[in-house]
């Protein structure tokens, strides 16, 4: 196809681009100890939490932002960011959906997530995070009956301080990396899940994150703990409204799986990628890590990444337990001027630990995408196994795909396999489908969805449907 025609087709508008007009209780831009004290006070935190934050802040001051990623963006002015924003009526938080600001509900409607209906119909508990404060939590009773704790991290700090103290920062230490340190200092909210010994969480847990107030960094903090033989599946999905200025997002997610426990964490991320020139998109610097602390524990990451201007994200597993299992299934789609440097780390420490990595990258427009993966096998991880499959699909000839696989094998009994392919979306495949009467657009969707099938089948059912739809929207007109 002619490149001119293609360029025209690649153009699309961000479908979730709208702004809800809710007065925010926002503090002026800037970051110092006072800012952190303000956040901590605003959230009614105990002294130990404030100390923890300040400690992280002091470490952050000594660190520099990582520059090794295959990403190109101007330096971020951390003093130009406002670190707290919450819907105004913090004191009289709504007790039910009836009390929720109708404008907020409208926002959810526009996003296609009618909270109450959808949650009720699907039997999903939703801890909806709007800006930085949890607005409503449903299905709490049913979860409580099972003994599962699912609440905002702020609530958890107040109501379950011992649990939070025991696990927070044990998977991603405050000094882990630049963005994790920043998050530890200023995180505003996020989710907390605790599944006690022997309990299988009776429903899938999901949280919708949404960035709303302009120029406000979003620093989510999520902690999920599964005790012995406990199981949970957690779904995270995101969209954000259109904005002119880059919005910084630096989340930290920590997962802890004890003996025979299993955690499945699925993400569909659809943040604003910026306009045609890449202006205004979200900067997404995320640290996600799971610790398979117990023997035979199992942590599985599945992600569908279609949004953000910049993505820096490596959901990882530390396979500490004997025969523990780590999995990473990823579909990343970049279009326009998006840049993504994403992948995973599988750190094998336990004997017989196994990991699987399946990464599918799709690049279109003028986007750039890198897979960066580390497989590390420690000296005591006898018989450890890894299988990595890493495929890239290019649409058009102005995009880029790169693969950076790292392997550090400290054990001669380990088995590590790596397969990688890069292909252009086949003109022949397109022609074949079109010559059967299928439109070019549908043919691309069909081929791309086929390419991603290995990953989509790992997603919970309703998420898989959503992911496919999202992929189609993202690649709308990206035919080459």
């Amino acid at each position: 196809m002619a490149s001119q025609e293609m360029e025209q087709l690649v153009r699309r508008e961000y479908k979730e681009g709208f702004v809800t007009d809710i007065e925010s209780d926002t503090i002026p831009p800037g970051l110092d100890e006072d800012t952190i004290a303000f956040i901590s006070k605003k959230k009614g935190e105990p002294q130990w939490m404030l100390d923890w934050r300040l400690d992280a802040y002091h470490q952050w001051l000594k660190m520099t932002a990582p520059s090794w990623a295959h990403l190109d963006y101007p330096p971020i002015d951390y003093q130009a960011i406002s670190y707290f924003s919450a819907p105004k009526r913090e004191e009289d938080k709504p007790q039910s959906l009836d009390e929720v600001d109708p404008k907020l509900l409208e926002t959810y409607e526009k996003l296609g997530i009618p909270l109450h209906e959808r949650a009720a119909l699907a039997g999903v508990a939703v801890d909806a995070v709007f800006d930085s404060v949890s607005v409503t939590t449903t299905f709490k009773d049913k979860l409580a009956e099972a003994g599962v704790i699912f609440c905002s991290i702020s609530e958890a700090i107040r109501d379950y301080p011992e649990l939070v103290k025991q696990y927070l920062g044990t998977v991603v230490p405050t000094s882990d990396n630049y963005f994790a340190a920043l998050n530890s200092a200023v995180f505003t909210d996020g989710s907390f899940v605790f599944v006690p010994e022997g309990v299988t969480c009776p429903m899938e847990l999901s949280t919708y994150f949404r960035i709303n107030a302009a120029n406000t960094g979003q620093f989510e903090r999520t902690l999920i703990v599964c005790e012995k033989e406990a199981q949970v599946s957690y779904l995270e999905g995101c969209t954000a409204p259109m904005r002119d200025e880059n919005q910084l997002h630096a989340a930290v997610v920590e997962l802890v799986a004890l003996e025979d426990a299993s955690i499945k964490y699925s993400t569909v991320q659809n943040w604003y990628p910026g306009d045609e020139d890449g202006k205004g998109g979200i900067y997404n610097f995320v640290t996600k890590r799971g610790d398979c602390r117990g023997d035979r524990s199992h942590i599985s990451w599945t992600q569908v990444e279609t949004g953000s201007a910049i993505t820096w994200k490596y959901p990882s597993c530390i396979l500490r337990g004997k025969d523990s299992i780590g999995e990473f299934y990823s579909v990343a789609v970049t279009n326009g001027r998006q840049q993504a440097d994403t992948g995973t780390k599988m750190i094998h420490l336990g004997e017989g630990s196994k990991s699987t990595i399946v990464s599918k990258g799709i690049s279109a427009g003028r986007s750039n995408q890198s897979y960066r993966g580390l497989v590390k096998v420690g000296p005591r991880a006898k018989g450890a196994r890894n299988f990595t499959q890493c495929d890239s699909l290019l649409i058009g000839d102005t995009c880029g795909a790169h693969t950076f696989p790292y392997q550090e094998i400290g054990n001669s009994t380990a088995t590590v396999e790596h397969e990688a392919t890069t292909s252009k979306i086949g003109e022949d495949q397109l022609f074949y489908c079109q010559s059967r009467g299928i439109s070019e657009e549908d043919a691309v969707n069909m081929i791309v969805n086929g390419f991603c099938k290995d990953v989509f089948q790992e997603l919970p059912m309703e998420f898989a449907v959503e992911a496919e739809a999202l992929l189609n929207v993202t690649l709308e007109g990206a035919v080459g």
Binding site: Q429, S435, I438, N449
Partner: protein, 250 residues
């Protein structure tokens, strides 16, 4: 129904078709034969709309419509369907899904609604068994890991499901053993009807023992140099192509 007039086609700067004229009426089976490099596959590819072929002169009309003005999918929706010599693999896309998407796209273009699922399943099962294929074919990814014979059967299966007005089959016999060829030929013969045209492109006469054409055309160096009935194919088989070139064009 199909009128190709004085067609000149250039591929990457070199002229492949140099004034080809061909007319196909409903109910007719035409076979285009010729030596390698004569432009046989180019003809069907151009009619189907494949990229990279530049038409420098001449015209193609189908039921009075200018084919060269139509998008690839519009040609298929109008009833022009190409069976590929080398069908491509599409990993992760189930065969049954492609069939359904193609059928529904064509129905939609005709202003019909989507085919109801039970009706579709009934249709598919019938055609699959006619092509002596296993139902498991439907659940496999399109052409992925198919043997040569399986791929060709799959092409015919699509024809049986999509019921084109003009079926074009590009070297559908290549790489087939005799049993597979019989199945493929049975499939093609079942497509024969008084309101459907069939265009076979083949290098060997062998296929034409099973699918007896009404017209045979010899394509040499970008032009049809000789046309005749089914007997022409036999003559070509015994005498080769050289004698045709030496005689004046028909």
């Amino acid at each position: 129904m199909l009128e190709v007039k004085d067609l000149h086609v250039t591929v990457e700067g070199s002229e492949i078709l140099k004034g080809l004229t061909l007319s196909i009426q409903p109910g007719e089976v035409h076979a285009i034969m010729g030596p390698n490099g004569a432009g046989k596959s180019t003809l069907s590819a151009v009619i189907a709309g494949k990229d990279g072929y530049e038409v420098t002169a001449g015209s193609i009309t189908f039921e009075g419509k200018d084919v060269l003005e139509m998008e690839i999918e519009e040609r298929a929706q109008a009833g022009l369907l190409l069976g590929f010599q080398y069908p491509v693999e599409i990993p992760g896309v189930k065969n049954i899904y492609l069939l359904k998407a193609a059928l529904n796209a064509q129905r939609e273009a005709r202003g019909e609604g989507e085919i109801p699922a039970p009706e579709f399943m009934k249709l598919i099962k019938e055609k699959v068994s006619f092509m002596k294929m296993d139902n498991s074919f439907l659940q496999r990814a399109v052409n992925e890991g198919f043997s040569g014979g399986e791929k060709k059967r799959n092409e015919i299966l699509q024809m049986l499901v999509l019921q084109p007005k003009l079926a074009m089959l590009d070297e559908i016999d290549s790489g087939l053993d005799i049993d597979a060829m019989k199945v493929v030929a049975d499939g093609v013969n079942s497509l024969r009807s008084e309101d459907r045209g069939i265009l076979l492109v083949t290098h060997y006469q062998r296929l034409l023992d099973y699918i007896v054409p009404d017209h045979v055309h010899v394509l040499v160096n970008g032009r049809i140099v000789k046309s005749g009935g089914a007997e022409l194919a036999h003559e070509l088989e015994s005498r080769g192509y050289d004698w045709v070139v030496e005689e004046p064009a028909a």
